[in-house]
């Protein structure tokens, strides 16, 4: 009898002993505890099914690694120091203590085994292994009612590019294999008195956005030659109201990655636009109030990626616009504004209470 008991005890003790030699696996052993008993209240701000915004209780979050480290100034879990870790204080309180976590109202306390497990994990160095909690944790999927197909709101530090057509954004395809422009090529544009403003489109992208710095009168066919060294990188170019004419278009034609070109109220005409057909990636071309005509429209037909074309107040005829619209189905040609009719006298007379 005694031997059998001893053997049983040994059988139980052995795995336990073996277990105590292995380090606690956070993802398999600790996180399930957090997930089941903590993250209902201790997760990042979300919107519940009533449309109300729920913030993490006590500003403590246990749903992702980043959030754990952010909570309580990093003192929630202090590696190797369970007695200094704030989490241990709360979960080890007596069952009927008001400040015990989980709160008595929410449910039973963590078992002695669970508390001990967490203590051991912290003492062993609070190793999260590969766990970050971003994709797979249940807490990352907010319990909101999705009555519309729009995904949950997220904040963005820097916005991402949006392509109008379905498919891969040109930002992605055009950045492939492109190293950022060398610093010494960009330096002249940061100096005082520079004619052009040159900026990355964001997220340290090698693609650049260029516009006039101040006075658009300074942007002329001579000045635009300054952009030749970085022509390969230019993604968007704003030459609105400048003195660029057809001669300057030769430089623009070298910008193979140009997707958006604003030539509004510049001195460009048909010959210049013909050269621009070399910019095969153009998505948007603004020729408002320039002297381009039907000849340019025929050339524009070669730009297969073009989505937006603005030709109001030009010499383009309506016939050419209709022809281009029928040839290029995905192209929006804006020719005449759809201005509202003037207010009738009765409406004019009603001044209403204005400031």
């Amino acid at each position: 009898m005694k031997t059998r008991l001893a053997l049983c005890l040994l059988a139980i003790a052995a795995p336990l002993a073996a277990q105590s030699k292995k380090k606690v696996d956070f993802a398999k052993e600790i996180f399930p505890i957090f997930d089941r008993q903590c993250t209902e209240c201790h997760r990042a701000t979300y919107v519940d099914e009533n449309g109300r915004r729920r913030r993490p209780k006590g500003r403590v979050m246990l749903d992702t690694l980043a959030n754990i480290e952010k909570s309580k100034g990093g003192k929630l879990i202090i590696a190797t120091k369970p007695d200094d870790s704030i989490i241990m204080e709360s979960i080890a309180l007596p069952a009927d203590d008001e400040d015990r976590m989980p709160p008595p109202k929410k449910g039973p306390p963590l078992s002695k085994y669970q508390v001990e497990l967490i203590r051991r994990w912290i003492a062993e160095g609070a190793d999260y292994g590969k766990w970050t909690g971003e994709a797979t944790s249940k807490a990352a999927q907010p319990k909101e009612r999705s009555s519309s197909t729009a995904p949950a709101k997220r904040s963005a530090a820097t916005p991402a590019a949006n392509s109008k057509r379905p498919g891969v954004s040109p930002v992605v395809t055009l950045s492939k294999g492109l190293n950022p422009a060398k610093a010494e090529l960009l330096a002249p544009f940061a100096a005082a008195g520079a004619v052009f403003s040159v900026k990355s489109i964001g997220d340290d992208s090698p693609l650049l956005r260029v516009s006039a710095c101040g006075n658009t009168d300074d942007v002329d066919d001579q000045a635009i030659a300054q952009l030749l060294p970085i022509a390969e990188h230019i993604f968007e170019l704003d030459l609105a109201r400048s003195r660029i004419s057809d001669a300057g278009c030769a430089v623009v034609a070298k910008m193979r990655r140009l997707t958006k070109l604003d030539l509004r109220q510049s001195r460009v005409s048909n010959a210049g636009v013909k050269q621009l057909t070399a910019c095969k990636e153009l998505r948007s071309l603004n020729l408002f109030d320039t002297r381009v005509g039907d000849y340019a429209m025929a050339a524009i037909g070669e730009l297969k990626q073009l989505e937006q074309l603005y030709v109001w107040k030009t010499d383009v005829s309506s016939k050419a616009v209709l022809r281009l619209r029928s040839q290029a189905k995905g192209l929006r040609v804006v020719f005449i504004p759809d201005m509202p009719d003037a207010m009738d006298d009765a409406q004019q007379g009603r001044r209403g209470r204005r400031k």
């Binding site: 997220r154 710095c213 759809d338």
Partner: protein
Amino acid sequence: MSLRRAIRGVDLDTRRNFLTGMARSMFGVGAGAMFGPSLIAGALNQGPQGSKAQDPEPIVLGNASAKHVIYLFMSGGMSHIDTLDPKPGQKTHGPKEAVSTNVDGIQLGGYLPKTARHMDKCCIISSMNSTQGAHEQAQYLMRTSYEKRGTIQHPSTGAWCQRMAGRHNDSLPGHVIIGGGSDAPGAGFFSAEFQPVPIGNANDGLQNVSLPKGITESRFKRRLEMLHGLDKTFAKKHQQASVTSYSQAYEDAVKVMRSSDLVAFDIGQESQAMKDAYGTGSFGNGCLMARRLVEHGVRYVEVMSGGWDTHSENFDRLEDLTPQIDQGLSALLADLDARGLLQDTMVVLASEFGRTPDIDEDNGRNHYPKAFSALLAGGGVRGGQRYGKTDKEGREPDSEPTSIPDLNATIAYACGLPTDHKLYSPSGRPFQVADKGMAITEIF
């Protein structure tokens, strides 16, 4: 105060009054200003480019789809059910029938038939939600994303845009308010150079920008030089940021006076047909000026409209108020689009709260922040959609409740400003462009 009277005297006092008056009307800078002589000297020597060293370093300009913002503010709490979020067939709807738009499935209130033709350019956020039901507090929150406090003046969203993204056109102000609002939060705790330029009446344009009769350019230059000489010692003794920024305002004023882009402020340059298309009331003129300013590179333009606090006779008053808005907004959208500017310009139509779905005995609607609407167009926003919904009668948001900071975060997002970037007040407290608001990125 008459410029002529101001200039006629030769003494120092009058010259100061002239420049103060000019600066006040142009940049909202108060009296008792100090002069920064070295910077005025800078303005004399340099051309329109001006001194770049004074421009704040742009924080981050990510892939901004909106180079400009035109912000149309309906002050008083515009009734949402009657305008942007109609509830046809419900008892909360009101007498005027809703109109269909050029987007299937979306209707607008019957007061906005002209705007309905441009619904394909607009995104209506129907699920705005706030707890602020008082005008002053709600308007402050709308402008700054923060609650009004006695201890600090927060900067408005427009000031944040200037501060973080700078100006496109150095020779024009970067932030203009048309039709009032010069007492509204402007630069807040940012330095004085971020104060918006108030334009009282769009028809009158920018005041005090041309030299009065009898003062030639060389005479003006001599006077500025005299000023510089007199103030040199002061500047040496008091080298403070506030002195510098006030001087920046003066330097900017002189630059504007010399700029050929000054025509942007003159709506007289437009044809009568164009003026009629926008509407010849103050709001229409304001929208027309806003288009001109944006054409010339001004980043943030606000146009104010008042009188929307329709506690009684809501429907009669809307008949009076809405034609101008419908006209101006639809003209603005059509005109900007045709110039290729709508893709770069975010147009916002907002009010500080909505009005009660229930109509009271005065035939009015009262303050109602629980649910209201805002309209966004251009600047990368996908048109022809509604973001968020209210329930059947328009009482509460059914989905995607959007706070006022969320709306401002969306504007900031479009302008390429990082919404989590902190700037510090003089007392060392951190603030962000839209406080804790989260941008609605899925409407882009």
